[in-house]
Symmetry: D2
Amino acid sequence: MSNLIHRNSDGVFIIAATPFDESGAIDFDSADKMVDFYLETGVSGLTILGIMGEAPKMAGDEAESFARHVIKRVNGRVPVVVGVSAAGLDNMARLSAASMDAGAGGVMVAPQPGMITEAKLKSYMAQVCEAVGETPICFQDYPQTTGVQVSVETIIGLTVDHPQIVMLKHEDWPGLTKLSRVRAETDTGDVPRMSILTGNSALFLAQEMQRGADGAMTGFAYPEMLVQVVARHQAGDVDGAEDLFDAYLPMVRYEQQLGLGLAIRKEVLRRRGVIASSKVRAPGPAMNARDMEELTRLMSRLDKRLKELS
Amino acid sequence: MSNLIHRNSDGVFIIAATPFDESGAIDFDSADKMVDFYLETGVSGLTILGIMGEAPKMAGDEAESFARHVIKRVNGRVPVVVGVSAAGLDNMARLSAASMDAGAGGVMVAPQPGMITEAKLKSYMAQVCEAVGETPICFQDYPQTTGVQVSVETIIGLTVDHPQIVMLKHEDWPGLTKLSRVRAETDTGDVPRMSILTGNSALFLAQEMQRGADGAMTGFAYPEMLVQVVARHQAGDVDGAEDLFDAYLPMVRYEQQLGLGLAIRKEVLRRRGVIASSKVRAPGPAMNARDMEELTRLMSRLDKRLKELS
Amino acid sequence: MSNLIHRNSDGVFIIAATPFDESGAIDFDSADKMVDFYLETGVSGLTILGIMGEAPKMAGDEAESFARHVIKRVNGRVPVVVGVSAAGLDNMARLSAASMDAGAGGVMVAPQPGMITEAKLKSYMAQVCEAVGETPICFQDYPQTTGVQVSVETIIGLTVDHPQIVMLKHEDWPGLTKLSRVRAETDTGDVPRMSILTGNSALFLAQEMQRGADGAMTGFAYPEMLVQVVARHQAGDVDGAEDLFDAYLPMVRYEQQLGLGLAIRKEVLRRRGVIASSKVRAPGPAMNARDMEELTRLMSRLDKRLKELS
Amino acid sequence: MSNLIHRNSDGVFIIAATPFDESGAIDFDSADKMVDFYLETGVSGLTILGIMGEAPKMAGDEAESFARHVIKRVNGRVPVVVGVSAAGLDNMARLSAASMDAGAGGVMVAPQPGMITEAKLKSYMAQVCEAVGETPICFQDYPQTTGVQVSVETIIGLTVDHPQIVMLKHEDWPGLTKLSRVRAETDTGDVPRMSILTGNSALFLAQEMQRGADGAMTGFAYPEMLVQVVARHQAGDVDGAEDLFDAYLPMVRYEQQLGLGLAIRKEVLRRRGVIASSKVRAPGPAMNARDMEELTRLMSRLDKRLKELS
């Protein structure tokens, strides 16, 4: 059975951190524990080396070896999507090929800054598709970071023109209407279905599921919440899904802080015993003592609230 | 007794909408009802003609007449802060003078785009202070909209150099550490105290109060929550404040959508009977039918949650 | 005979400064002298209240009275285009109506920041066309300032959908291929001709004429050069046009400095006896003593070079 | 004798292209010819792997091998500066160490996007200095590309705090006053001298030399002009320097087109027999047939003008 991503992929593709030890080297042991942890929570896939995954701070050979290691550990149980966004197509093609050879399920591509008309973006994505060969692509629509605004019309054009663009990582902001439109205007007439997984730190996950998302692709450090919210929703328990989501919302909101969120997530994963160190490569955000106390308070409030709910 | 803003101002300064009728003209009757509503919730002040208050879409004489009208209706019960940010200092000085003549409590100024070194910003704020005379100023630190990044050092320099800059509308993002630092590094040595009111749609209000904010200056359409959270916090009930805040968080998060948030707030105020129309001047955001349903659901979930809590 | 702008408008539409006296008030006497000066150099039109014309720093009634004054002085000899870009459509409609009533030849509109997909831009321009009625529109494509990237396809869509959009102020950068494409892909099939006047401080005027521009719309303080270059080009003297242009290029390059260019242009106009003061409204750029010396040197080198050429 | 850059470095440090063959691989033969060509024109140094040198599109090991190759070919005749700007400090440190081991004269660093207060920038540059060890640094002030605005005060603070920051690549825009201020406010009191080389495609080279620049660091494809202008200026022939510069200005202006300029420079170098192919790695700018004709015309006009001058 193939573990490639496809137009009906759903569930939670967790955005995985890259664990480093205190010296800044990749911590492969923690990577193994992290993979096991994610799989135990019930995720449907992993996405590694994303924009938030410190990929731009890794050397090319480091990225490849991390990808191979994770893919091997996952061992085909779920698809692994590899972020390959890069300034040059050669580097993108190299990482994509290495990842797919190792058994990846697809690659994720965000447009480079500067692809700022739909004509330029379409031309760029055609080059990307050629560069990565037949590899299935998750298109990351993340204008807050890339500066590239993409209309619904363009998203549809991309998935029609390039059958390998099968998935949308939706994180335009605010973007609820955009999600509704992509859902309504695909899988109809000549336009194929598209898997829609939502990002933006899951701040609107309940609403996004109600509007037709297939799941989430984000890095919330309590993946079990994402998995349960998506599962309850798919089971028809819309209110139950939103109740659970709202209980976690104070923490979702806290992790969603741009930049700092990465440090928070790694610290939560460390506290939960998933990774050995919350080290972020320089230059990078760091939590200070006050932030640490605040996180302790928020984690403890979350525990209390979950007990109330159960 | 003076109703000017000062270095110890606290509580909730609600960011007021500008109500329009369906034709787009200022709806002064709704303005009166809105003022009464805000005062009944217990706010400590009103801020009108802010960046979100559609001021840039009003003619200069409209803005002046709206300011005069609101100030008259408030009638000295709380201070009214008038947003006077403008591309030119002449226009700023004119609106400031007209507002202060009418009895305003101060003006709010955000730096113009382009004041993008601290040297330029300091020079600009010196010009602003001269242009508005002795008027107390609330400095709005809102880089997401202005593009002007302001360090803690610069904020302190501004309030030291210009005694009239007495208040900070804190809405850098992420900005919790910045708030902590401004609190710690003012009211000490030669640096005077500064009133810190937080913006950013109150997404972190509980955390911000815990870090020493004096209150909030934002436009959440349930001002009673803001008032109670600040009051509970000031009364020492830190957990109770955060519990209440978290109950409203799904709605806070929903209103916080950039651009669309204005339409949502006006619609909530309309549904609550505060203003007659949710009209936003063109070009502006609009809620569609799906958004309307979603809002209905969220409002109803909020009611349910509040009942659980009480 | 009508003096409205149209799809075959050509020549030089000079971007006019707004002269202020030392106190910052509009200097109507200088405005008269400036109009006379421009007309004597042979310009085909005037454009007032552009982005560089300090319009955002003027009150609404000031802008209207300046527009009426200039239009009256021009007295129908050439079309006057009035910049009406504004954050709100109400303000835009008001200035447009007042200007057209006074005898303007059309209005110029740049998209508001935020209209950053072609779908949003098209919707915005449809609203603009409705707001200004039948008025002929010059669409200003100036992404460096507006942040709005516009593709050739969108420009063509706009002029096809809205017959009143008859002129393009071309100042995308770098934009030579864009100009070539708009020229090649209009006036063909169902797409009507479009007048193309180039901006960007005329830094590429010779090349742009060679690629099919109809003329220039910029504020170079030696309009006689613009007029002669366009005239020579239209007379078939391509090399002579470029020789003359190159002689002025050091000064064109000097005036093209973003922001400061406005102060330089006003100072050159003052030195040439056209306006009484080089005052720029605050906050605004100012030349220091070193800049003044440098300008003196450049003006003197220009004189010398022109003598060599003649 | 050391060939490290220092606080009195002057002359022309040419920004070198990275020659590729038609397949996109590094063309080391062309690199050799290019090095020889640059040295024959009399440059005082070479700068490789700059922002415009396609470094972000090269793999880490490619960049290292290119640096080693060029440094070996130069063989100590002039200093070679290596651009090491990178998202992560680890990658920066690695390329810096490899280059210095091979005999480089220093490294060039531009701040990463996001270092957008002076406090953040200072902290970042302290990390950079630690990461690259004792290596002399050329600080690249290029806000148009990095988005990081740097005040004169900050530049001075950096060179005072970090003795290894010995050189400024000046390319803020407009930036003439900034250059004057850095020149006046260094080499005085406790502030050491700083070498100032100007970038920005040399569009203002004559003016910048007159304001005290030590030379140029840019990639104009006729380096002999840069060398002669700087030499004439240093010999006291200010007018002669500017006359020569102005003759080349139409071409300087043409090459200065953002993005496309790289393709133009490579094509000029190819036409001049310096490199075998004008290949730019994807995604990248490309000249079309019309651009090619235009370049031919401009090159031929330049030849004619140079004959007139001689």
